[in-house]
Amino acid sequence: MEHLKEIINTLTNPKILFPSILFLYFFIFPPNDYLLKINKRLKLYNIWTKKGAVVLFSLLIGFFAFGLTDPNFQKIVAKPDNVPIVGLIFLVVFFLWLSMYQARENDQRIAQGKLPNEAEDAKEKILVWPDLVYIEFIALILCAALLLTWAMVLKAPLEEPANPSVSPNPSKAPWYFLGLQEMLVYFDPWLAGVLFPTVIMIGMMAIPFIDNNRKGCGYYTFEDRKMAVSIFMFLWLVLWIFLISTGTFLRGPNWNFFGPFEYWDIHKLEALTNINLSEYVYMIWLNRSLPSNILLREGVGFLLIALYFGLAPLVLSKTLFKNIYHRLGVLRYSVFTILLLLAVSLPIKMFLRWAFNIKYIVAIPEFFFNI
């Protein structure tokens, strides 16, 4: 038992968990035909069957049931403000399955040359009164019942009166912003707190204009729009829901990582010393002091950034994204790749931090300009 917990604790260390999720992810939501083939060969697509659902939920419920025997896990999960996130996890998994289940059915129908279920249904028109109105009415009654029960069972949290001179440890942002707060560990506030949210918003609004795939409108499908679904799942499931869950359940005092069954020890110490790229370059490789000229000091960093955003799209357009480049055209393609590169920069930065203790690629604290 304890052993199992220990193993789970070790596995949930993001240095292990995050890369493995990233790795698995490409096989579960394959963005291209090649990966799809592998996926099918591995029968991963069978997750989205009713049997798969049983397995998925047994695992999930089993994990929570097992976890709740542990006092540390209990403490975190049963905290009133964390309950919605537990609910969120279940809901997301359920609806993920529901959508993929329908998508799988439709994909199979399309492969057989049939119309998707929705198209079949759409041939028939139905009066809104009473069917839809009734359904909605019932739904909102259930929702109200849920809310009232929830409200009676769980009291809304209220901590000690506000005290600006005593900061709780850890201080967390509201849960839906924990993804951003997690980013703060790897990026400066102006990036994680300002630039990225803005880009996320604009990027989301831009989705319909970038995705010019006419297929897959109005019915659940995966194979008709692999790329779109795959990227969306990456952003939504991995970079959003997963980071929120991490921030809620796995981040403890001093913003240290704690496994789900680990006690939140305020004194836990981790070697978090890190180092800027410029220091790497000058002090470790060239064995000398940092130059006082800022541009000279950060030249390498700037160069890397420029290459990342300047060269990478070009190279990608000739290689991996060749098809996409042709389908999207120059403008759409550049917007798309820039957005994608920005999104990918987070795992990249994480990797750099974990592997090389890199703090900033460009570090100009004098002007609050760190990347």
Partner: protein
């Protein structure tokens, strides 16, 4: 409908659209312009210019000072050579290169150390947890930790070595420049002031700025941009402890006065015009080190006004005079701020603000006008008719009238009531009759009968009193001398001056008792002698003390006083009793309680005497005579006036201006008018005689009126300043209670207490000239020797038991040469204890008791003390009285009786006194025998091994023996020590 289904010409619509937009745009522009055109912006801009000028002048002065400072020039020269030497000698190119290398090495090592240390810390934590959980990987964790620990330690050593190397290299370079640096530091210190001014000018003076900064100065205050970092901005202080009462609660006061009054706390602006002028007396107000710093008290808590206002009128400025009002209207478009209860106090009444917090003190330092107002209120006895919290339980001010027949005649009483001023111009008895609402012919007739009724009542109810007759013939000349010397003039004046003199606290002290003019017209010699001998016999509650006069002295004084008559007053006649008018008066009163018919029959049943008696009682009730005087039959009647405790907070519409329109609608104007002519607001009103206003006229001078108005404005609800009031500690209460007793018994008429008082002093100087034949110059010099003592420091000085007894029965002659006598007061035990505590707290003396030190003397010591006491050394008896032995010197040089030292003085104090009398009572005649500046060598070297401390102690102990031995005979005749 046209062909294209259009109605309006699109061009016209375009035009209209353009016009409409332009109109809106210009309206919007106006919004910004108006916001940018506020009064305070102009003042701040003006102030900036002023500040630049001032700073320039100061800087120039500083530069001149520096230029003329030889030391500075020298320093500059030294600095130059040092710099040259440094440039020459201290070029370590090689060394610097080496240093750079070392630095790099050091940084790298440091970094490695940091990493290693962090890893080690983490490993340590893992190791610790593994240990406490007895985990399987304990071994591994342990080896990991110890390995890292080892590594870290080695790295640490390396870092320290590197540090050392670096340090030694740096030291070589540094030591070379040491001299230069020291010189530079010295220079910095010298030019610090100038640098500060320079820096300030750089910030504010466009001439000293770069072009970009000039631009910035212009841009930063533009509309909208001024959100960021304007130089013109509203300044405010938020006062947590001084609060605005908004009725439901109190909220912190927000003070914005300093937005325009920019120089208020800066002494540099004391000669500037408003609004930049410095506040006067920064040591007491506004200044950071004053007891009322701006940041804690703000402005409006004292001045009144609307503290949030930043516009001249909206700050509720109040003009001090009609002239100023006119000027303000012209200059600031001033208008009275309506709908605001607390406008600023006019400058003449500004001291009213002090009372908010200092209401417990009887004299408020620095608030002379307010003090004068309070003194007038005390003398005039406003609190008799009007309840004022501060004067709760104060004694009635008027004389007792229950035995009036033995003292006065009805005729005199009639004339006195009708017009007290015709007897004495400056009397505190106010005028009830012939005032603005009862001086028409009909009222005059009525008044005559009313006075008759009052007089009749007083005399009819008067109890029997027989004066103790004294058959001695008095000597008026001796009497005059006595009056002038024995202490009467502390509370009385002899002459009644028609012309109003400016009053001071001391002149009011001398009007504590009545003016002693016209006594011959007023009363009889017999009554007077009896009164002088023992005032309490006639009036047990009187505050007139017993001066312990001998029969002869009393007779002398009486015959002197009785000689003064007021012939004008004596020759006045009083009108006859008029039955018709008397009937009317009596009928009016009867009608109030009875139906008309019954009243008529009742009236018919009364004879003249009864009518007079009946009306007299009603009238005394109506006019409130009983409030100031004891009158039989009016034991516990409530005072008739409105309560004044919170008069200053009274809303303006609670003050009835009646039909008087030619005065300002302000509180101060109403109060002034009311005091000048208390009945004026009846003007134009239809009122029955008994409904008329009855407040009498005290005939106050303009100065007194203004002072009283100031005090009235100060009588406010004090909500909001609770936290800023001096805490009401027991000490504080002792002080306040003591001050109250001091004020009630006019102690400061003779003594100086808390640096105030001594009203009698100037009269003693006159006495010296007039009766002792000294010339005026000499009198001025020596009169101090005849003054009653200054009571400063007596809490530490006097033995509490002795003081208690002395205050109770002051028969012991401490200063036998003084003509002025400490009179016997009717203090009760509570009074005495309070006074003792009062004097003790004044000197921070915690307890009124002390333990007796050992005052024994050995034989040697006794001899040494005798030697010091004798003419050989200190010659104490040159001045000091010892028992009956009065030194032969002239009286003004004499000093207190040393035979009383043991019982009278505290032993500790006496040591201090002998040691350094000036520190205890500056200006005392007592010589300083032991120079405090060179104390160790100040005493006679050959006595008691020249040990000053010992000398003083021995001398003290010797003084304590004086009462026991030499003067047993003398103490017998003043040993009537009180039974306590």
């Amino acid at each position: 409908m046209g062909q294209d289904e259009r109605h309006y010409n699109i061009n016209k619509l375009n035009f209209l659209f353009a016009i409409a937009s332009l109109v809106l745009l210009s309206a919007l522009g106006m919004v910004f312009l108006r916001d940018n055109d506020k009064e305070w912006r102009k003042y701040q801009t003006e102030f900036q210019t002023l500040e630049i000028e001032k700073t320039r002048v100061k800087k120039d002065a500083e530069e001149v000072k520096l230029a003329s400072n030889g030391e500075y020039e020298e320093l500059l020269a030294k600095l130059e050579t040092a710099q040259a030497a440094f440039d020459q000698k201290c070029q370590f190119k090689e060394l610097e290169k080496e240093l750079a290398k070392l630095q790099a090495e050091n940084e790298i090592l440091n970094q490695q150390y940091k990493f290693s240390k962090a890893e080690m810390d983490a490993a340590k934590y893992r190791y610790e947890t593994a240990q406490s959980h007895h985990a399987a990987n304990l071994e591994q964790a342990s080896t990991e930790f110890y390995a890292l620990d080892e590594k870290t330690k080695t790295l640490n050593l390396q870092v320290e070595e590197s540090n050392k190397k670096l340090f030694s290299k740096e030291k070589i370079i540094d030591s070379c420049g040491e001299e230069l640096e020291n010189l530079q530091k010295e220079k910095r210190q010298l030019v610090q002031k100038k640098n500060l001014l320079d820096r300030k000018l750089n910030k504010i003076d466009p001439q000293e700025m770069s072009f970009v900064n000039q631009m910035a100065q212009m841009v930063r205050n533009l509309p909208v941009i001024d959100l960021a970092n304007p130089s013109l901005k509203i300044e405010q202080v938020v006062l947590q402890d001084v609060r605005d009462d908004v009725n439901f609660m109190t909220v912190p006061k927000v003070e914005r006065c300093i937005t325009c009054h920019l120089g208020i706390s800066n002494p540099d602006y004391k000669d500037e015009a408003q609004p930049f002028k410095t506040h006067p007396n920064l040591e007491l107000f506004v200044g950071n080190d004053s007891p009322h710093p701006l940041e804690e008290f703000g402005c409006t808590v004292c001045h009144g006004g609307r503290s949030r206002g930043i516009d001249f009128s909206r700050a509720a400025h109040t003009p001090a005079s009609a002239v100023q009002k006119k000027a303000w209207i012209e200059k600031y478009d001033w208008e009275k701020l309506e709908l605001w209860e607390e406008p600023m106090l006019p400058l003449v009444n500004v001291q009213a603000g002090c009372f908010k917090c200092h209401s417990g003190e009887s004299t408020i330092k620095g608030a002379d006008k307010l003090n004068l107002g309070l003194d007038v209120i005390e003398r005039a006895g406003c609190y008799n008719c009007h309840v004022i919290d501060k004067y709760k339980d104060w004694p009635k001010t008027g004389p007792d009238l229950t035995q009036i027949a033995s003292k006065l005649t009805p005729a005199w009483a009639y004339k006195w009531i009708a017009d007290p001023q015709s007897f004495r111009h400056k009397t505190w008895m106010p005028s009830y009759f012939n005032q603005s609402n009862n001086s028409d012919p009909e009222s005059k007739l009525r008044s005559q009968q009313e006075i008759h009724a009052i007089v009749h009542y007083l005399f009819a109810k008067s109890e029997a009193f027989t004066a103790e007759v004294n058959s001695l013939k008095g000597n008026p000349i001796n009497g005059e001398s006595l009056v002038n010397s024995v202490g009467c003039l502390a509370c009385h004046q002899l002459k009644d001056e028609a012309q109003a003199q400016p009053e001071t606290a001391n002149s009011l002290r001398r009007r504590f008792g009545p003016i002693l003019s016209g006594i011959g017209t007023k009363t009889t010699r017999e009554w007077l002698i009896d009164w002088l001998k023992d005032p309490q016999r006639y009036h047990p509650q009187t505050r007139m003390p017993n001066l312990r006069l001998t029969d002869q002295e009393a007779a002398d004084i009486a015959s002197f006083l009785i000689a003064d008559t007021n012939t004008n007053f004596a020759s006045k006649t009083s009108p006859m009793i008029d039955d018709k008018v008397l009937n009317e008066i009596a009928f009016d009163f009867l009608k109030k309680n009875l139906p008309k018919e019954k009243a008529t029959t009742e009236l018919a049943a009364m004879n003249q005497q009864q009518k007079l008696l009946f009306s007299g009682e009603k009238l005394i009730g109506q006019y409130g005579c009983y409030s100031c005087h004891n009158i039989s039959g009016f034991g516990n009647r409530k005072p008739i006036g409105t309560e004044l405790t919170e008069e200053g907070s009274k809303s303006l519409h609670n003050l009835d201006f009646g039909f008087i329109h030619d005065i300002d609608h302000t509180k101060e104007a109403w109060f002034t008018q009311k005091l000048k002519d208390p009945r004026i607001f009846d003007h134009g009103k239809v009122k029955a005689p008994d409904e008329k206003l009855v407040m009498p006229n005290f005939n106050l001078s303009d100065q007194e009126t203004e002072a009283v108005v100031t005090a009235l404005l100060g009588f406010t609800k004090d909500s909001g300043v609770e936290k800023k009031k001096v805490a009401r500690t027991p000490d504080r209460l002792f002080k306040e209670k003591g001050q109250e007793i001091v004020a009630q018994f006019n102690c400061q008429g003779c003594h100086i207490i808390q640096d105030e008082g001594g009203a009698i002093y100037p009269t003693l100087q006159d006495w010296l000239v007039k009766y002792e034949g000294r010339d005026s110059k000499e009198a001025e010099k020596v009169h101090e020797g005849f003054n009653p003592p200054n009571l400063r420091g007596i809490g530490k000085k006097l033995d509490p038991d002795w003081l208690f007894n002395f205050l109770h029965q002051p028969t012991q002659k401490v200063r036998p040469w003084l003509k002025t006598r400490m009179p016997t007061y009717s203090f009760n035990v509570a009074h005495l204890n309070q006074l003792l505590k009062f004097f003790a707290t004044l000197d921070d003396e915690q307890s009124t008791f002390y333990t007796e030190p050992d005052t024994n003397l050995s034989n040697d010591e006794f001899k040494a003390a005798e030697l010091m006491f004798s003419t050989e050394v200190f010659d104490c008896t040159k001045c000091h009285v010892v028992g009956n032995k009065i030194p032969a010197a002239s009286e003004e040089t004499l000093a207190p009786n040393l035979a009383l030292a043991k019982t009278r003085l505290r032993p500790d104090w006496l040591i201090q006194w002998i040691k350094d009398p000036q520190s205890l009572l500056p200006g005392t005649k007592m010589p300083t025998f032991f120079d405090p500046l060179d104390y160790e060598n100040s005493g006679p070297p050959d006595i008691l091994e020249g040990d000053e401390n010992k000398q003083i102690r021995v001398l003290r102990n010797y003084l304590f023996t004086l009462s026991d031995k030499k003067n047993t005979n003398s103490s017998s005749d003043n040993s009537s020590s009180p039974a306590q």
